[in-house]
Protein backbone atom coordinates (compact mmCIF):
# COMPACT_ATOMS: atom_id res chain seq x y z
CA UNK A 1 0.00 0.00 0.00
CA UNK A 2 1.32 3.45 -0.87
CA UNK A 3 -0.02 6.31 1.16
CA UNK A 4 -0.45 9.73 -0.33
CA UNK A 5 0.92 12.63 1.65
CA UNK A 6 4.10 14.57 1.91
CA UNK A 7 4.96 13.17 5.33
CA UNK A 8 4.62 9.59 4.23
CA UNK A 9 7.41 7.51 5.76
CA UNK A 10 8.05 3.82 6.28
CA UNK A 11 5.24 2.43 8.41
CA UNK A 12 4.50 -0.41 10.81
CA UNK A 13 1.43 -2.64 10.34
CA UNK A 14 -0.48 -0.58 12.95
CA UNK A 15 0.40 2.71 11.29
CA UNK A 16 -0.74 1.39 7.91
CA UNK A 17 -4.06 -0.04 9.07
CA UNK A 18 -4.94 3.01 11.17
CA UNK A 19 -3.90 5.35 8.33
CA UNK A 20 -6.02 3.47 5.80
CA UNK A 21 -9.04 3.51 8.11
CA UNK A 22 -8.76 7.17 9.11
CA UNK A 23 -7.77 8.71 5.78
CA UNK A 24 -4.78 10.32 7.54
CA UNK A 25 -1.09 9.79 7.09
CA UNK A 26 -0.75 8.63 10.67
CA UNK A 27 2.34 7.73 12.67
CA UNK A 28 2.87 6.43 16.20
CA UNK A 29 1.62 8.93 18.77
CA UNK A 30 -1.00 10.51 16.46
CA UNK A 31 -4.65 10.46 17.48
CA UNK A 32 -7.08 9.48 14.73
CA UNK A 33 -10.77 8.77 14.31
CA UNK A 34 -10.91 5.55 12.30
CA UNK A 35 -13.73 3.71 10.53
CA UNK A 36 -14.39 0.25 11.96
CA UNK A 37 -14.78 -2.98 9.98
CA UNK A 38 -16.37 -5.11 12.72
CA UNK A 39 -17.49 -4.79 16.36
CA UNK A 40 -18.16 -7.54 18.90
CA UNK A 41 -19.35 -7.80 22.51
CA UNK A 42 -19.86 -10.76 24.86
CA UNK A 43 -22.26 -11.44 27.71
CA UNK A 44 -20.02 -9.83 30.35
CA UNK A 45 -19.82 -6.55 28.42
CA UNK A 46 -22.79 -6.40 26.01
CA UNK A 47 -25.46 -5.59 28.62
CA UNK A 48 -23.56 -2.44 29.68
CA UNK A 49 -22.91 -1.58 26.02
CA UNK A 50 -26.64 -1.85 25.30
CA UNK A 51 -27.38 0.48 28.18
CA UNK A 52 -24.71 2.94 26.96
CA UNK A 53 -26.05 2.75 23.39
CA UNK A 54 -29.52 3.64 24.63
CA UNK A 55 -28.08 6.41 26.82
CA UNK A 56 -26.43 7.88 23.73
CA UNK A 57 -29.88 8.14 22.17
CA UNK A 58 -29.09 5.36 19.70
CA UNK A 59 -31.98 4.21 17.55
CA UNK A 60 -30.05 2.64 14.66
CA UNK A 61 -26.61 1.12 14.17
CA UNK A 62 -23.92 2.19 11.72
CA UNK A 63 -22.47 -1.34 11.75
CA UNK A 64 -25.28 -3.26 10.06
CA UNK A 65 -24.00 -6.70 9.02
CA UNK A 66 -20.73 -5.95 10.81
CA UNK A 67 -21.63 -6.48 14.47
CA UNK A 68 -21.91 -9.60 16.58
CA UNK A 69 -22.96 -10.43 20.13
CA UNK A 70 -21.72 -13.65 21.73
CA UNK A 71 -23.06 -15.49 24.77
CA UNK A 72 -19.99 -17.38 25.98
CA UNK A 73 -18.77 -16.29 29.42
CA UNK A 74 -21.72 -17.72 31.40
CA UNK A 75 -23.21 -20.13 28.91
CA UNK A 76 -25.55 -21.86 29.51
CA UNK A 77 -26.63 -19.45 32.23
CA UNK A 78 -26.00 -20.70 35.78
CA UNK A 79 -28.20 -18.02 37.41
CA UNK A 80 -31.59 -16.42 36.93
CA UNK A 81 -30.06 -12.91 36.95
CA UNK A 82 -27.64 -13.84 34.15
CA UNK A 83 -30.50 -15.38 32.14
CA UNK A 84 -32.16 -11.97 32.22
CA UNK A 85 -29.02 -10.30 30.84
CA UNK A 86 -28.83 -12.92 28.08
CA UNK A 87 -32.49 -12.19 27.25
CA UNK A 88 -31.61 -8.48 26.99
CA UNK A 89 -28.87 -9.34 24.46
CA UNK A 90 -31.19 -11.48 22.34
CA UNK A 91 -33.83 -8.78 22.31
CA UNK A 92 -31.32 -6.08 21.32
CA UNK A 93 -29.79 -8.26 18.59
CA UNK A 94 -33.26 -8.91 17.14
CA UNK A 95 -34.26 -5.28 17.27
CA UNK A 96 -31.17 -3.89 15.53
CA UNK A 97 -30.22 -6.86 13.36
CA UNK A 98 -26.96 -7.86 15.06
CA UNK A 99 -25.62 -11.38 14.62
CA UNK A 100 -26.32 -13.28 17.84
CA UNK A 101 -24.06 -16.19 18.69
CA UNK A 102 -26.08 -17.93 21.37
CA UNK A 103 -25.10 -20.54 23.96
CA UNK A 104 -22.89 -23.25 22.48
CA UNK A 105 -21.61 -21.29 19.49
CA UNK A 106 -18.28 -20.87 21.26
CA UNK A 107 -15.83 -18.37 22.73
CA UNK A 108 -16.43 -15.01 21.05
CA UNK A 109 -12.90 -14.80 19.64
CA UNK A 110 -13.00 -18.19 17.93
CA UNK A 111 -16.47 -17.40 16.56
CA UNK A 112 -15.11 -14.14 15.08
CA UNK A 113 -12.45 -16.17 13.27
CA UNK A 114 -14.57 -19.18 12.27
CA UNK A 115 -17.21 -16.89 10.75
CA UNK A 116 -14.67 -14.80 8.85
CA UNK A 117 -15.43 -11.53 10.67
CA UNK A 118 -11.85 -10.62 11.61
CA UNK A 119 -9.96 -10.33 8.32
CA UNK A 120 -6.35 -9.52 7.40
CA UNK A 121 -5.79 -5.75 7.25
CA UNK A 122 -9.11 -4.98 8.95
CA UNK A 123 -9.85 -2.83 12.00
CA UNK A 124 -11.88 -4.60 14.68
CA UNK A 125 -12.90 -3.65 18.20
CA UNK A 126 -14.29 -6.07 20.74
CA UNK A 127 -15.59 -5.50 24.23
CA UNK A 128 -13.24 -8.14 25.58
CA UNK A 129 -9.56 -7.65 26.33
CA UNK A 130 -8.50 -10.74 24.35
CA UNK A 131 -9.78 -9.24 21.09
CA UNK A 132 -6.05 -8.85 20.34
CA UNK A 133 -6.17 -12.56 19.37
CA UNK A 134 -7.07 -11.71 15.74
CA UNK A 135 -3.73 -9.96 15.33
CA UNK A 136 -2.50 -13.45 14.42
CA UNK A 137 -4.50 -13.17 11.19
CA UNK A 138 -3.18 -9.66 10.55
CA UNK A 139 -6.24 -7.75 11.84
CA UNK A 140 -5.65 -4.64 13.94
CA UNK A 141 -7.96 -5.86 16.68
CA UNK A 142 -8.12 -4.40 20.14
CA UNK A 143 -10.16 -4.69 23.31
CA UNK A 144 -12.33 -1.81 24.46
CA UNK A 145 -14.91 -1.26 27.17
CA UNK A 146 -18.66 -1.30 26.76
CA UNK A 147 -19.11 2.45 26.22
CA UNK A 148 -16.44 2.62 23.49
CA UNK A 149 -18.13 -0.40 21.89
CA UNK A 150 -21.48 1.38 21.99
CA UNK A 151 -19.98 4.49 20.38
CA UNK A 152 -18.51 2.31 17.61
CA UNK A 153 -21.77 0.46 17.05
CA UNK A 154 -23.70 3.73 16.88
CA UNK A 155 -21.33 5.80 14.72
CA UNK A 156 -19.15 3.24 12.91
CA UNK A 157 -15.97 4.89 14.13
CA UNK A 158 -13.81 5.33 17.23
CA UNK A 159 -10.79 7.37 18.28
CA UNK A 160 -7.41 5.66 18.57
CA UNK A 161 -3.93 6.66 19.56
CA UNK A 162 -1.67 5.11 16.91
CA UNK A 163 0.57 2.85 19.00
CA UNK A 164 4.32 2.57 18.99
CA UNK A 165 5.41 -0.93 18.01
CA UNK A 166 7.61 -3.52 19.67
CA UNK A 167 9.04 -5.91 17.09
CA UNK A 168 9.48 -9.46 18.36
CA UNK A 169 11.41 -11.99 16.28
CA UNK A 170 11.19 -15.65 17.25
CA UNK A 171 13.62 -17.98 15.57
CA UNK A 172 14.59 -21.61 16.04
CA UNK A 173 12.69 -24.90 16.03
CA UNK A 174 10.27 -25.92 18.77
CA UNK A 175 11.57 -28.98 20.64
CA UNK A 176 9.22 -31.96 21.22
CA UNK A 177 6.80 -31.40 24.10
CA UNK A 178 7.06 -27.63 23.75
CA UNK A 179 4.26 -25.61 22.18
CA UNK A 180 3.12 -22.13 21.13
CA UNK A 181 1.77 -21.57 24.67
CA UNK A 182 5.28 -22.06 26.03
CA UNK A 183 6.60 -19.41 23.61
CA UNK A 184 3.82 -17.05 24.68
CA UNK A 185 4.45 -17.60 28.42
CA UNK A 186 8.20 -17.16 27.88
CA UNK A 187 7.46 -13.82 26.16
CA UNK A 188 5.17 -12.63 28.99
CA UNK A 189 7.83 -13.58 31.54
CA UNK A 190 10.50 -11.63 29.69
CA UNK A 191 8.48 -8.62 28.55
CA UNK A 192 6.42 -8.57 31.83
CA UNK A 193 2.81 -7.62 32.51
CA UNK A 194 3.25 -4.00 31.51
CA UNK A 195 6.35 -4.13 29.29
CA UNK A 196 4.35 -3.42 26.13
CA UNK A 197 1.67 -1.12 27.59
CA UNK A 198 0.11 1.13 24.91
CA UNK A 199 2.27 -0.58 22.24
CA UNK A 200 1.42 -2.94 19.44
CA UNK A 201 3.48 -6.10 19.09
CA UNK A 202 4.61 -7.22 15.64
CA UNK A 203 5.58 -10.87 16.05
CA UNK A 204 7.40 -12.78 13.34
CA UNK A 205 10.38 -14.98 12.58
CA UNK A 206 11.05 -18.54 11.45
CA UNK A 207 9.38 -20.14 14.47
CA UNK A 208 6.16 -18.19 13.85
CA UNK A 209 6.19 -19.17 10.16
CA UNK A 210 6.48 -22.84 11.25
CA UNK A 211 3.47 -22.60 13.58
CA UNK A 212 -0.04 -23.37 12.41
CA UNK A 213 -2.71 -20.71 12.80
CA UNK A 214 -3.90 -22.21 16.09
CA UNK A 215 -0.53 -21.70 17.73
CA UNK A 216 -0.15 -18.18 16.34
CA UNK A 217 -3.56 -17.27 17.81
CA UNK A 218 -2.34 -18.47 21.22
CA UNK A 219 0.60 -16.05 21.05
CA UNK A 220 -1.48 -13.06 19.91
CA UNK A 221 -4.07 -13.90 22.59
CA UNK A 222 -1.48 -13.24 25.30
CA UNK A 223 -0.41 -9.85 23.87
CA UNK A 224 -2.70 -8.05 26.31
CA UNK A 225 -1.02 -9.86 29.21
CA UNK A 226 2.03 -7.76 28.33
CA UNK A 227 -0.12 -4.63 28.22
CA UNK A 228 -0.16 -4.50 24.41
CA UNK A 229 -2.95 -2.98 22.38
CA UNK A 230 -2.53 -5.44 19.50
CA UNK A 231 -0.53 -8.60 18.79
CA UNK A 232 0.04 -8.40 15.06
CA UNK A 233 1.54 -10.91 12.65
CA UNK A 234 1.95 -10.79 8.87
CA UNK A 235 -0.37 -12.91 6.78
CA UNK A 236 1.09 -15.85 4.83
CA UNK A 237 -0.35 -18.71 2.77
CA UNK A 238 -1.60 -20.45 5.94
CA UNK A 239 -3.48 -17.30 6.92
CA UNK A 240 -5.05 -16.83 3.51
CA UNK A 241 -5.99 -20.52 3.25
CA UNK A 242 -7.85 -20.29 6.57
CA UNK A 243 -10.27 -17.74 5.07
CA UNK A 244 -11.14 -19.94 2.06
CA UNK A 245 -14.91 -20.31 2.14
CA UNK A 246 -15.26 -18.11 5.25
CA UNK A 247 -15.65 -14.73 3.55
CA UNK A 248 -16.58 -13.33 0.17
CA UNK A 249 -14.53 -10.19 0.79
CA UNK A 250 -11.26 -9.70 -1.05
CA UNK A 251 -8.45 -10.10 1.46
CA UNK A 252 -6.05 -7.18 1.83
CA UNK A 253 -3.21 -8.21 4.15
CA UNK A 254 -0.80 -5.55 5.36
CA UNK A 255 2.96 -5.92 5.80
CA UNK A 256 5.28 -3.45 7.51
CA UNK A 257 7.52 -1.27 5.33
CA UNK A 258 11.24 -1.89 5.35
CA UNK A 259 12.71 0.74 7.63
CA UNK A 260 9.56 1.18 9.74
CA UNK A 261 10.32 2.68 13.14
CA UNK A 262 10.15 0.36 16.15
CA UNK A 263 10.24 1.59 19.72
CA UNK A 264 11.84 -1.64 20.84
CA UNK A 265 13.05 -4.89 19.25
CA UNK A 266 13.43 -8.26 20.93
CA UNK A 267 14.76 -11.51 19.54
CA UNK A 268 14.36 -15.02 20.91
CA UNK A 269 15.64 -18.42 19.83
CA UNK A 270 13.29 -21.11 21.09
CA UNK A 271 15.39 -24.14 20.07
CA UNK A 272 16.32 -24.72 23.72
CA UNK A 273 12.97 -23.75 25.24
CA UNK A 274 11.25 -26.13 27.68
CA UNK A 275 7.65 -26.16 28.96
CA UNK A 276 6.78 -22.99 30.87
CA UNK A 277 4.35 -22.43 33.74
CA UNK A 278 2.87 -19.17 35.06
CA UNK A 279 2.69 -19.46 38.84
CA UNK A 280 0.04 -17.76 41.00
CA UNK A 281 -1.07 -14.93 40.94
CA UNK A 282 0.31 -13.06 37.92
CA UNK A 283 0.77 -14.13 34.31
CA UNK A 284 4.36 -12.88 34.21
CA UNK A 285 5.38 -15.02 37.21
CA UNK A 286 6.97 -17.57 34.86
CA UNK A 287 9.02 -20.63 35.79
CA UNK A 288 10.31 -23.62 33.84
CA UNK A 289 8.02 -26.60 34.52
CA UNK A 290 10.83 -28.37 36.45
CA UNK A 291 10.58 -25.75 39.20
CA UNK A 292 6.94 -26.54 40.00
CA UNK A 293 6.83 -30.27 39.18
CA UNK A 294 5.17 -32.23 41.97
CA UNK A 295 2.76 -29.47 42.98
CA UNK A 296 -0.54 -31.32 43.70
CA UNK A 297 -3.52 -30.30 41.56
CA UNK A 298 -7.26 -30.70 42.04
CA UNK A 299 -8.49 -29.40 38.68
CA UNK A 300 -7.27 -29.07 35.10
CA UNK A 301 -8.86 -26.87 32.45
CA UNK A 302 -8.20 -27.37 28.73
CA UNK A 303 -9.89 -24.82 26.49
CA UNK A 304 -10.59 -21.05 26.38
CA UNK A 305 -9.71 -18.46 23.73
CA UNK A 306 -6.05 -19.22 24.48
CA UNK A 307 -5.94 -22.98 23.93
CA UNK A 308 -9.31 -24.44 22.95
CA UNK A 309 -8.52 -25.08 19.29
CA UNK A 310 -7.92 -28.33 17.43
CA UNK A 311 -4.13 -28.38 17.69
CA UNK A 312 -4.52 -27.88 21.44
CA UNK A 313 -7.07 -30.67 21.85
CA UNK A 314 -4.96 -33.01 19.70
CA UNK A 315 -1.84 -32.33 21.80
CA UNK A 316 -3.76 -33.14 24.99
CA UNK A 317 -5.26 -36.30 23.49
CA UNK A 318 -1.78 -37.54 22.51
CA UNK A 319 -1.06 -37.71 26.25
CA UNK A 320 -4.48 -38.78 27.54
CA UNK A 321 -5.22 -41.62 25.12
CA UNK A 322 -5.42 -44.93 27.03
CA UNK A 323 -4.78 -43.21 30.39
CA UNK A 324 -6.96 -42.13 33.28
CA UNK A 325 -7.15 -38.82 35.07
CA UNK A 326 -5.72 -39.27 38.60
CA UNK A 327 -8.04 -39.95 41.51
CA UNK A 328 -9.23 -36.68 43.03
CA UNK A 329 -8.56 -34.60 39.89
CA UNK A 330 -11.28 -32.99 37.76
CA UNK A 331 -10.39 -32.42 34.11
CA UNK A 332 -12.64 -29.87 32.41
CA UNK A 333 -12.44 -29.60 28.60
CA UNK A 334 -14.20 -26.90 26.57
CA UNK A 335 -13.65 -26.72 22.81
CA UNK A 336 -13.38 -23.10 21.62
CA UNK A 337 -16.27 -23.20 19.16
CA UNK A 338 -18.97 -25.33 17.60
CA UNK A 339 -16.76 -25.82 14.53
CA UNK A 340 -13.88 -27.02 16.72
CA UNK A 341 -16.27 -29.29 18.66
CA UNK A 342 -17.62 -30.86 15.45
CA UNK A 343 -14.14 -31.61 14.14
CA UNK A 344 -13.04 -32.90 17.55
CA UNK A 345 -16.01 -35.29 17.46
CA UNK A 346 -15.09 -36.49 13.97
CA UNK A 347 -11.50 -37.13 15.06
CA UNK A 348 -12.54 -39.04 18.18
CA UNK A 349 -10.95 -36.49 20.50
CA UNK A 350 -14.10 -35.99 22.58
CA UNK A 351 -14.25 -39.75 23.13
CA UNK A 352 -10.72 -39.76 24.54
CA UNK A 353 -11.45 -36.83 26.88
CA UNK A 354 -14.60 -38.56 28.13
CA UNK A 355 -13.08 -42.00 28.46
CA UNK A 356 -10.04 -40.81 30.41
CA UNK A 357 -12.31 -39.34 33.08
CA UNK A 358 -12.62 -35.75 31.86
CA UNK A 359 -15.80 -33.69 31.56
CA UNK A 360 -16.46 -32.01 28.21
CA UNK A 361 -18.38 -28.72 28.41
CA UNK A 362 -20.26 -27.02 25.61
CA UNK A 363 -18.10 -24.66 23.48
CA UNK A 364 -17.52 -21.46 25.47
CA UNK A 365 -15.35 -19.93 28.19
CA UNK A 366 -15.99 -22.69 30.78
CA UNK A 367 -14.52 -21.95 34.23
CA UNK A 368 -11.85 -19.48 33.00
CA UNK A 369 -13.56 -16.43 34.44
CA UNK A 370 -15.16 -17.95 37.54
CA UNK A 371 -18.80 -17.81 36.61
CA UNK A 372 -19.56 -21.52 36.25
CA UNK A 373 -18.45 -24.98 35.12
CA UNK A 374 -15.70 -25.73 37.62
CA UNK A 375 -15.10 -23.16 40.37
CA UNK A 376 -12.21 -24.49 42.48
CA UNK A 377 -12.48 -25.11 46.22
CA UNK A 378 -10.53 -23.43 49.04
CA UNK A 379 -6.85 -24.28 49.05
CA UNK A 380 -7.04 -26.12 45.73
CA UNK A 381 -4.54 -25.79 42.89
CA UNK A 382 -5.73 -25.57 39.30
CA UNK A 383 -3.61 -26.04 36.19
CA UNK A 384 -5.19 -24.33 33.21
CA UNK A 385 -4.54 -23.49 29.57
CA UNK A 386 -6.23 -20.09 30.02
CA UNK A 387 -4.55 -16.68 29.95
CA UNK A 388 -5.08 -15.32 33.49
CA UNK A 389 -4.21 -16.66 36.93
CA UNK A 390 -5.15 -13.67 39.06
CA UNK A 391 -6.27 -14.45 42.60
CA UNK A 392 -10.01 -15.11 42.47
CA UNK A 393 -10.07 -15.31 38.66
CA UNK A 394 -11.82 -18.68 38.60
CA UNK A 395 -14.30 -17.66 41.28
CA UNK A 396 -12.41 -18.45 44.47
CA UNK A 397 -9.69 -16.19 45.94
CA UNK A 398 -8.61 -19.12 48.16
CA UNK A 399 -7.51 -21.18 45.13
CA UNK A 400 -4.21 -21.02 43.20
CA UNK A 401 -4.06 -21.08 39.38
CA UNK A 402 -1.09 -22.25 37.30
CA UNK A 403 -1.08 -21.61 33.52
CA UNK A 404 0.52 -23.97 31.01
CA UNK A 405 0.20 -25.63 27.60
CA UNK A 406 -2.51 -28.24 26.90
CA UNK A 407 0.17 -30.97 26.97
CA UNK A 408 1.40 -29.89 30.40
CA UNK A 409 -2.16 -29.71 31.71
CA UNK A 410 -2.97 -33.18 30.33
CA UNK A 411 0.21 -34.76 31.77
CA UNK A 412 -0.47 -33.09 35.13
CA UNK A 413 -4.08 -34.37 35.26
CA UNK A 414 -2.88 -37.95 34.70
CA UNK A 415 -0.21 -37.68 37.42
CA UNK A 416 -2.30 -35.63 39.88
CA UNK A 417 0.55 -33.15 40.18
CA UNK A 418 2.26 -30.67 37.88
CA UNK A 419 4.25 -32.78 35.44
CA UNK A 420 6.66 -32.14 32.58
CA UNK A 421 4.83 -33.48 29.49
CA UNK A 422 8.15 -34.62 28.00
CA UNK A 423 8.22 -37.40 30.64
CA UNK A 424 5.07 -39.04 29.30
CA UNK A 425 5.33 -38.50 25.54
Amino acid sequence: MVLEGKNSVAKTISEKILSAHSGKDASAGDLVVAELDFVMAQDGTAPLAIRAFEGMGGDSIAMAGRAALCIDHSAPSPLRAISELHALMREFADKYGLELNDVGEGVCHQVMLDKGHALPGSLVIGADSHTCTYGAVNAFATGVGSTDLAAGLLSGSLWFRVPETMKVTIDGKLPAGVFAKDIALMMVGDITADGATYMALEVGGAAIADLGLDGRLTISNLAVEMGAKAGLMEADQKTLAFFDGRTSEKLAPVSPDAGAAYQEEREYDISGLGPQVAKPHTVDNIAPVEEVEGTPIAEGLIGTCTNGRLEDLRAAVEILRGKKVAHGVRLIVAPASREVMMQALREGLIEVFTECGGSVMCPGCASCVGTHQGIPGDGENVISTANRNFKGRMGNPEACIYLASPATVAASCVAGEITDPRRVM
Binding site: L48, V144, L158, T197, G392
Partner: protein, 164 residues
Protein backbone atom coordinates in the same frame (compact mmCIF):
# COMPACT_ATOMS: atom_id res chain seq x y z
CA UNK B 1 -11.50 18.02 45.45
CA UNK B 2 -10.05 16.81 48.72
CA UNK B 3 -9.93 13.40 50.32
CA UNK B 4 -7.82 10.65 51.82
CA UNK B 5 -5.48 8.37 49.90
CA UNK B 6 -6.06 4.62 49.96
CA UNK B 7 -2.80 3.04 48.95
CA UNK B 8 -2.44 -0.08 46.75
CA UNK B 9 0.53 -1.61 44.93
CA UNK B 10 1.47 -2.42 41.33
CA UNK B 11 -0.55 -4.39 38.76
CA UNK B 12 -3.96 -4.07 40.43
CA UNK B 13 -6.04 -6.00 37.88
CA UNK B 14 -9.72 -5.62 37.06
CA UNK B 15 -10.52 -8.98 38.70
CA UNK B 16 -9.29 -7.46 42.00
CA UNK B 17 -11.24 -4.24 41.41
CA UNK B 18 -14.45 -6.18 40.82
CA UNK B 19 -14.44 -9.96 40.58
CA UNK B 20 -16.08 -11.82 37.69
CA UNK B 21 -18.13 -13.79 40.22
CA UNK B 22 -20.04 -10.57 40.95
CA UNK B 23 -19.94 -8.58 37.72
CA UNK B 24 -21.63 -11.05 35.40
CA UNK B 25 -24.75 -11.07 37.58
CA UNK B 26 -26.04 -7.53 37.51
CA UNK B 27 -26.12 -4.08 35.96
CA UNK B 28 -26.74 -2.57 39.42
CA UNK B 29 -23.51 -0.65 40.09
CA UNK B 30 -24.47 0.10 43.70
CA UNK B 31 -24.54 -3.63 44.36
CA UNK B 32 -21.14 -4.10 42.66
CA UNK B 33 -19.81 -1.11 44.63
CA UNK B 34 -20.14 -3.17 47.86
CA UNK B 35 -17.54 -5.63 46.50
CA UNK B 36 -14.82 -3.37 45.04
CA UNK B 37 -11.25 -4.39 45.91
CA UNK B 38 -12.53 -7.08 48.31
CA UNK B 39 -10.08 -9.78 47.19
CA UNK B 40 -7.17 -7.44 48.03
CA UNK B 41 -8.70 -5.78 51.08
CA UNK B 42 -12.01 -7.11 52.48
CA UNK B 43 -12.46 -3.93 54.58
CA UNK B 44 -11.83 -1.41 51.79
CA UNK B 45 -15.44 -0.29 51.34
CA UNK B 46 -15.79 0.18 55.11
CA UNK B 47 -12.73 2.47 55.26
CA UNK B 48 -13.58 4.41 52.11
CA UNK B 49 -15.33 7.76 52.49
CA UNK B 50 -17.08 9.40 49.55
CA UNK B 51 -14.60 11.67 47.78
CA UNK B 52 -11.50 9.65 48.75
CA UNK B 53 -8.78 8.69 46.28
CA UNK B 54 -7.35 5.36 45.29
CA UNK B 55 -3.57 5.54 44.86
CA UNK B 56 -1.59 2.78 43.15
CA UNK B 57 1.71 1.96 41.47
CA UNK B 58 2.20 0.87 37.88
CA UNK B 59 -0.23 -0.84 35.46
CA UNK B 60 -3.43 -0.09 37.39
CA UNK B 61 -6.48 -1.79 35.82
CA UNK B 62 -4.66 -4.46 33.86
CA UNK B 63 -6.62 -7.49 32.76
CA UNK B 64 -10.12 -7.65 31.40
CA UNK B 65 -12.03 -4.94 29.56
CA UNK B 66 -14.82 -4.90 32.17
CA UNK B 67 -16.15 -1.39 32.46
CA UNK B 68 -17.70 -2.40 35.75
CA UNK B 69 -14.24 -1.77 37.26
CA UNK B 70 -14.23 2.06 37.02
CA UNK B 71 -18.02 2.18 37.38
CA UNK B 72 -18.02 0.22 40.64
CA UNK B 73 -15.17 2.37 42.01
CA UNK B 74 -17.10 5.51 41.11
CA UNK B 75 -20.30 4.23 42.70
CA UNK B 76 -18.37 3.20 45.83
CA UNK B 77 -17.40 6.86 46.23
CA UNK B 78 -13.88 6.98 44.80
CA UNK B 79 -13.37 10.49 43.35
CA UNK B 80 -10.25 9.76 41.29
CA UNK B 81 -7.57 7.12 40.82
CA UNK B 82 -3.90 8.14 40.86
CA UNK B 83 -1.30 5.72 39.49
CA UNK B 84 2.17 5.83 38.01
CA UNK B 85 0.68 4.10 34.93
CA UNK B 86 -2.62 2.59 33.79
CA UNK B 87 -3.50 -0.34 31.54
CA UNK B 88 -4.93 1.17 28.38
CA UNK B 89 -8.44 -0.32 28.28
CA UNK B 90 -9.07 0.60 31.91
CA UNK B 91 -7.77 4.12 31.27
CA UNK B 92 -10.24 4.69 28.42
CA UNK B 93 -13.09 3.13 30.40
CA UNK B 94 -12.39 5.36 33.38
CA UNK B 95 -12.45 8.58 31.35
CA UNK B 96 -15.48 7.36 29.35
CA UNK B 97 -17.37 7.02 32.63
CA UNK B 98 -16.25 10.34 34.07
CA UNK B 99 -13.91 8.90 36.72
CA UNK B 100 -10.66 10.90 36.55
CA UNK B 101 -7.52 8.75 36.12
CA UNK B 102 -4.35 10.70 36.86
CA UNK B 103 -0.91 9.52 35.77
CA UNK B 104 1.65 10.83 38.25
CA UNK B 105 4.55 9.83 40.49
CA UNK B 106 2.67 8.18 43.38
CA UNK B 107 5.78 6.88 45.17
CA UNK B 108 5.65 9.58 47.87
CA UNK B 109 1.97 9.14 48.73
CA UNK B 110 1.21 7.00 51.79
CA UNK B 111 -2.00 5.37 52.94
CA UNK B 112 -4.09 7.91 54.82
CA UNK B 113 -2.42 11.03 53.35
CA UNK B 114 -4.83 13.88 52.69
CA UNK B 115 -4.70 15.03 49.07
CA UNK B 116 -6.17 18.00 47.28
CA UNK B 117 -6.51 17.71 43.51
CA UNK B 118 -7.14 20.45 40.97
CA UNK B 119 -8.42 18.61 37.90
CA UNK B 120 -8.19 21.68 35.68
CA UNK B 121 -4.42 22.03 36.21
CA UNK B 122 -3.66 18.38 37.09
CA UNK B 123 -1.85 19.58 40.21
CA UNK B 124 -1.94 17.33 43.28
CA UNK B 125 -1.22 18.74 46.75
CA UNK B 126 -0.24 16.26 49.43
CA UNK B 127 -1.40 18.19 52.50
CA UNK B 128 -0.11 15.57 54.95
CA UNK B 129 3.40 15.68 53.44
CA UNK B 130 3.40 19.34 52.43
CA UNK B 131 4.43 18.43 48.87
CA UNK B 132 3.05 18.92 45.37
CA UNK B 133 3.16 16.77 42.23
CA UNK B 134 1.94 17.24 38.66
CA UNK B 135 -0.05 14.70 36.70
CA UNK B 136 0.40 14.04 32.99
CA UNK B 137 -1.98 16.11 30.83
CA UNK B 138 -4.77 14.19 29.07
CA UNK B 139 -5.16 14.36 25.29
CA UNK B 140 -7.75 16.88 24.07
CA UNK B 141 -10.30 14.23 23.07
CA UNK B 142 -10.29 12.78 26.59
CA UNK B 143 -10.68 16.23 28.16
CA UNK B 144 -13.65 16.82 25.82
CA UNK B 145 -15.22 13.51 26.92
CA UNK B 146 -14.61 14.31 30.63
CA UNK B 147 -16.01 17.81 30.27
CA UNK B 148 -19.24 16.41 28.80
CA UNK B 149 -19.49 14.08 31.82
CA UNK B 150 -18.53 10.91 29.94
CA UNK B 151 -18.73 9.30 26.51
CA UNK B 152 -22.48 8.54 26.70
CA UNK B 153 -23.25 12.25 27.15
CA UNK B 154 -20.61 13.19 24.56
CA UNK B 155 -22.15 10.90 21.93
CA UNK B 156 -25.68 12.01 22.80
CA UNK B 157 -24.59 15.58 22.05
CA UNK B 158 -22.16 15.12 19.12
CA UNK B 159 -23.26 11.84 17.49
CA UNK B 160 -19.70 10.77 16.69
CA UNK B 161 -16.16 11.25 17.92
CA UNK B 162 -14.08 14.03 16.47
CA UNK B 163 -10.50 15.10 16.89
CA UNK B 164 -9.79 18.87 16.64
Amino acid sequence: MKGKAHRFGDDVNTDYIISGRHKFKTLDMNELACHVMEDLDPHFTKRLKKGDFLVAGKNFGCGSSREQAPLALKHAGVAAVLASSFARIYFRNSINNGLPALVCDTSGIEDGDTLEIDLATGRIKNISKGSEIDSRPLPRVMLDILSEGGLVEYMRKHGRLAIE
